[in-house]
Amino acid sequence: MVQISLPENSEIKKGKYFKDKTGSKNLRKVNIYRWDPSSGDKPRIDTYEVDMDNCPSKVLDILNKIKNEIDPTLAYRRSCAHGVCGSCAMNMAGKNGLACTTAHAEINGDIDIYPLPHLKVKKDLIGDLDGLYKQYQSIEPWLKSNSKSETKEIFQSKEDRAKLDGAYECIMCACCSTSCPSYWWNGDKYLGPAVLLQAYRWIVDSRDEERQARLKKVADELKLYRCHTIMNCTSACPKGLNPAKAIAEIKKMLATANI
């Protein structure tokens, strides 16, 4: 059954207010979801006044500034800061994205920052993605070839290689899967856009010889057909990919293939 409301231990309280100490006139309020596993308290929203005169352009820069200058207890994942590693995926102004590629100038009003939706929170902005990684493992994301040509390079035509465009670029940041209402309600069984895009990537790879088995595996009422083309995934993807279309292509293959 779909549970719309949050469980009792997840209800959000109002938190602390960090007043600006720099005396800057160019301030922005930043509301950040906080939860400390050691305290036993409910999650809260802390508000920070940030001096925008001395802050670079991205949301991640704001978080770094808060952590370095205002509140060192804030926890979040980040690494490359160039939209390549996918670590700093979070929900900003109601939309999932990478903090390092989202410009704060694009956000109107106060900046609300939450962890990726519908995940068990480990601390502050860090969500637990173990379930997603297990599902990723379940589609066996590696090349499977049974032929004798294993010792040699497997050739691929330019046309076949082009089929992987739009699928291989995925950085597994989980922005799409955690934006999907179907994944919120059925995340334990439904594979979600990120994993299905990767399933598609291996199904269409001309070098892979397990195409039929891969299709068969994914052909499941709950694993695949929970996608109702809501399109939250495509609109969230920070790399401009289209998981919704990939899922539709898998459905199409299943409808036309003889399995």
């Binding site: 719309i4 949050l6 469980p7 231990n9 997840s10 959000i12 979801y33 939860w35 596993p37 036993g40 409910k42 999650p43 929900n91 102004a93 109601g94 939309k95 609300d112 939450y114 962890p115 990726l116 939706p117 519908h118 995940l119 068990k120 929170v121 480990k122 969500g127 637990d128 934006s179 209402p181 919120w184 109702h228 083309t229 809501i230 399109m231 939250n232 495509t234 609109s235 289209n242 919704a244 279309k245 539709a248 292509e249 459905k251 199409k252």
Partner: protein
């Protein structure tokens, strides 16, 4: 430890956009349509049962609430038809670009209002 972890907010904070709005409305209108069809069947069987029932239904339908229900049902069916066509096209693998899905979503929303007016006028003037 594991159980104590809170669930991060989801539908409470996620921003709506055209495509997600159309998708949820598709479900809601689907449920409304099932109720509507049941009501229409009930109405038809009432007419079969007795002549006086016709007047009772007529009275109900010409009231303000009755008119609202009729318009609501017409809109619900109009929305469902257009949205179903949109999903049908998507099942063929078309219309997944963000811009296209936005435009088709808007067509469904505004089209359903126009269809409602058209159906209502046809019903009122010709039947």
């Amino acid at each position: 430890m594991e159980n104590k972890r809170p669930l991060s907010p989801h539908i409470q904070i996620y921003k709506w956009h055209i495509s997600s709005l159309v998708s949820i409305s598709h479900r809601i209108t689907g449920i409304i349509n099932i109720i509507a069809i049941t009501l229409i069947c009930l109405w038809a069987s009432l007419l079969f049962l007795a002549e006086e029932n016709y007047e009772t239904v007529e009275l109900l339908m010409s009231s303000l609430i009755g008119k609202f229900i009729i318009l609501g049902i017409i809109w619900s069916f109009s929305f469902q038809i257009l949205s179903e066509i949109r999903h049908f096209i998507m099942d063929f693998g078309y219309g997944f670009e963000l811009k296209t899905s936005r435009i088709t979503g808007l067509i469904v929303i505004f089209g359903s209002i126009i269809l409602t007016i058209v159906f209502y006028l046809i019903g009122k003037n010709f039947i």
